[in-house]
């Protein structure tokens, strides 16, 4: 009797743990009921969009179609130290590899992004030399399946899981890295290797 009860309890616990793990929590991504529930994958067409940079100029993803690949960087925001480090490093990617088109996207507004750029540039290693695009209603973030629901209902509603995409000239996702660990971001070398792989 005791044996059967213990076995039953053990099976229930196993089922509970399995359910917890299957929420993808250990991957750092929680499935959400947004427009898209999973991040865009390699081989898929990258959703086109038009967003504004800090000067209010419109920037359209597909304007580079047929011409050059695009690196898309989704970052959490001005308050995220890892994101600051990542964007600081990306300056050398676009400076040293002049042909690379890079677009950085967050929910931050223009004024906030401007201050963020000033902080990054204050290390003396040059200004941010790629557009920082504002997606305050997180429509693009949602379409890429990157919406992190942990901040829903707060002032920071719509924050994305950090992600980097390499979009080829035809507008398809050739390479992607979506955050599974807060601390790990792809290096410039990783991105360059992905771009080199397009040829």
């Amino acid at each position: 009797m005791w044996l059967r009860t213990s076995f039953g309890v053990g099976l229930v616990l196993i089922a509970l743990v399995h359910a917890t793990l299957s929420q993808s929590y250990t991957r750092g991504i929680t499935v959400v009921d947004a427009e898209r529930t999973e991040p865009i994958r390699n081989g898929e067409e990258a959703p086109d969009f038009t967003l504004e940079d800090i000067q209010g100029n419109s920037v359209t993803l597909s304007s580079a179609r047929g011409k050059t690949a695009t690196v898309l960087v989704f970052y959490r925001g001005y308050w995220c130290p890892f994101c600051a480090r990542q964007l600081s490093e990306l300056r050398s990617l676009t400076r040293d590899q002049g042909q690379i088109r890079l677009l950085a996207i967050s929910v931050d507004d223009h004024a906030t992004s401007k201050k963020f750029i000033e902080k990054i540039s204050s290390d003396g290693n040059g200004s941010v030399n790629f557009p920082m695009l504002s997606d305050p209603d997180h429509k693009v973030i949602d379409r890429y399946g990157l919406h992190d629901p942990a901040y829903d209902g707060s002032k920071f509603d719509g924050i994305p899981h950090p992600a980097v995409y390499v979009i080829d000239k035809e507008g398809r996702v050739a390479w992607s890295k979506v955050e599974s660990d807060y601390k790990i971001r792809p290096s410039n070398a990783d991105i360059l290797a992905a771009i080199a792989g397009l040829n």
């Binding site: 196993i14 890892f82 290390d123 707060s154």
Partner: protein, 163 residues
């Protein structure tokens, strides 16, 4: 058989605890705030000392008022009190300097509890009345591994100006 079942139960319990810990470290902390006045009654022309006590759960910290790192958002308070009261200079506690895995830089932080002090000057012309002072704490919290978006917490206290 009893041993096998016990092992299954124990390993599941350990796995569950581990998941809870991981979840705790990636969930923003609940920061407690209390506004304490040295006196809840004072005469016109006097100063009331005030302390905002900030309670920080274990495993987390707040960026200090001077966080050292240029990307760290500093802790700052706003004191809201009606005219003609004035706020005397705010004194922030000394930071503890630490190194965390999420940045290459050292950080000035507050851990466990931080007490931020200021004064409330009551002009001599103020008549007898009851006044509410509100303090808004602006802060960014982090665990040992990740930082969270900045937040605000409020605390209020009431005092009387009497004869």
């Amino acid at each position: 058989m009893k041993l096998v079942v016990s092992m299954i139960l124990l390993s599941n319990a350990l796995l569950f605890c581990n998941q809870s810990l991981v979840h705790a470290q990636t969930t923003p902390p609940k920061i407690g705030t209390r506004l304490i006045l040295a006196k809840d009654k004072a005469q016109a022309g006097r100063l009331i000392s005030a302390s905002l006590i900030v309670d920080i759960p274990a495993g987390y910290h707040l960026n200090a008022h001077d966080p050292i790192s240029r990307f760290a958002l500093p802790t700052k308070i706003e004191v809201q009190i009606p005219d003609p009261y004035k706020v005397a200079p705010i004194s922030y506690p000394r930071a503890v300097v630490r190194k965390f895995s999420f940045t290459d830089e050292r950080l000035g932080v507050y851990e466990r509890q931080a007490v931020i002090r200021f004064g409330l000057r009551i002009p001599g012309s103020v008549q007898l009345r009851t006044t509410t002072v509100k303090v808004i704490l602006n802060y960014q919290s982090c665990s040992n591994e990740v930082c969270f978006p900045p937040k605000k917490e409020e605390a209020t206290a009431v005092f009387q100006v009497g004869k």
